[in-house]
């Protein structure tokens, strides 16, 4: 199978110390990768480097023929690789507007955009909350909105950072349910986590970060 993302190398240093020295690794369509590692092992840094949100000392990755480096991250990659924070930031508008944001940037036609927003709201189980401001949402609800906001863009690669951290049991199981539905087979999902249930998710491959390097398990 042709790889979706090839990471030749991803190196991040803090002073003289190398935090990350990853590569070569590949991601394929249909992959569900669970990225584990101790706190401070560089999971978030690696995901952000892949998403072009953080620069490393050295990086070279290829995504469907488009190349990115530590100094040049083409915008078209950013539109197809989406990163979701551990504690997602929701814009201070309505939930529907949050989900609409990326579709507007991609100039999706209004009727189609609204259809997709409704569909994403239903997918996240938040149909009745379209006009609600995010400030009153719980951590689990915010995570569900963030996943819906990312999923509505139909990204080829979805990078999700510790999505179940600090959630209660019910919210955790709702978020895990959404993550299961997110891996469609056409895309690739990478989830950084410590959560046993996520680590043992059916069909998931495990990457473990230790000493700045990835061990595949």
């Amino acid at each position: 199978m042709r790889p979706l993302v090839e990471i030749e190398h991803a190196v991040k240093r803090y002073g003289d110390k190398a935090l990350l020295d990853v590569g070569p690794v590949t991601l394929h369509a249909g992959d569900l990768i669970v990225l584990t590692g101790d706190n401070g092992s560089g999971k978030t840094t690696l995901l952000k480097m892949i998403a072009g949100l953080e620069r490393g000392a050295r990086m070279r990755l290829r995504f469907e023929g488009v190349e990115a480096s530590e100094s040049d991250y083409p915008r078209e990659l950013g539109r197809r690789i989406v990163y979701v924070h551990q504690h997602p930031y929701l814009f201070n508008t309505s939930i529907a507007d949050n989900i609409r944001y990326g579709l507007r940037l991609r100039r999706v036609e209004a009727a189609e955009r609204e259809r997709r927003v409704r569909e994403a709201m239903a997918w996240a189980g938040m149909e009745d909350l379209a006009a609600v401001a995010p400030r009153g949402l719980s951590g689990g609800e915010k995570q569900r909105v963030a996943l819906a906001r990312a999923r509505v863009l139909d990204p080829r690669v979805l990078l999700v950072d510790e999505p179940t951290a600090n959630l209660d049991a019910q919210s955790r199981s709702q978020v895990i349910g959404l993550l299961r539905k997110t891996a469609t087979g056409d895309n690739c999902v990478v989830v950084a986590c410590h959560d046993r249930e996520l680590i043992e998710l059916e069909g998931a491959r495990r990457w473990h970060l230790a000493g700045g390097r990835i061990e595949t398990r």
Binding site: K48, G78, Y83, P88, Y89, N92, Y101, L105, R135
Partner: protein
Amino acid sequence: MKSDSLLQAVQEAFLRLSAGDGELWTIVWISLKVSLSALAIATPLAVALGFWVASNYFRGRTLVIVLLQGLLSFPTVVVGLVLYLLFSRSGPLGAWHLLFTQAAMIIGQAIIAFPVLAAFTLAAVQGADPRLRETAASLGAGPWRSAFTSLFEVRFAVVAGVLNGFGRVISEVGCAMMVGGNIAGYTRNIPTAIALETSKGDFAQGIALGAVLMVFALGVTALLALVQREAKPR
């Protein structure tokens, strides 16, 4: 001033306000026109500068921030003095014939409002959640769109800056007096009129204009309270 004549002056002031005294309302109109024009000019430039300084690291950045904060308490009369020297007939900009015009007052008030607006924007953008820009970028926003989204997210703080700027310029007397010249029906605004009428002993006019200024101040305070309530963190 005796207490009965003070009472008379207050009564006369409210009579003039309710009777729609032409001279009084012309002064109010000039004040609003000059101050709002100054804000319209200063706001986009100051917000852009505040945002740029907050978002970029460059040599001399700390100096720019200290300068902006220092200018917050810069005496308005000194701004007036500098502009007077520039605009006076023998000054470097004397050929523009701006001295004792509304344009000069607008320029002066724009300069006075500028650091307030820039400092509020700077503080708001610096204090914004770092995940905000990352989220916008991750959802596909380019640098301009990310910047616009960031500004939109701190909009309440920027509006609070505009309201504070309005509060500062609508009530300043030093610069308006020096570069406006307090010409009746043209450059006489509320603060310069109050100073003049009080010195002439027409307390009723001073009290009436003072009451209008107080209404503006209370209005701005009420709007600020509303804006701050909206700006509460999520």
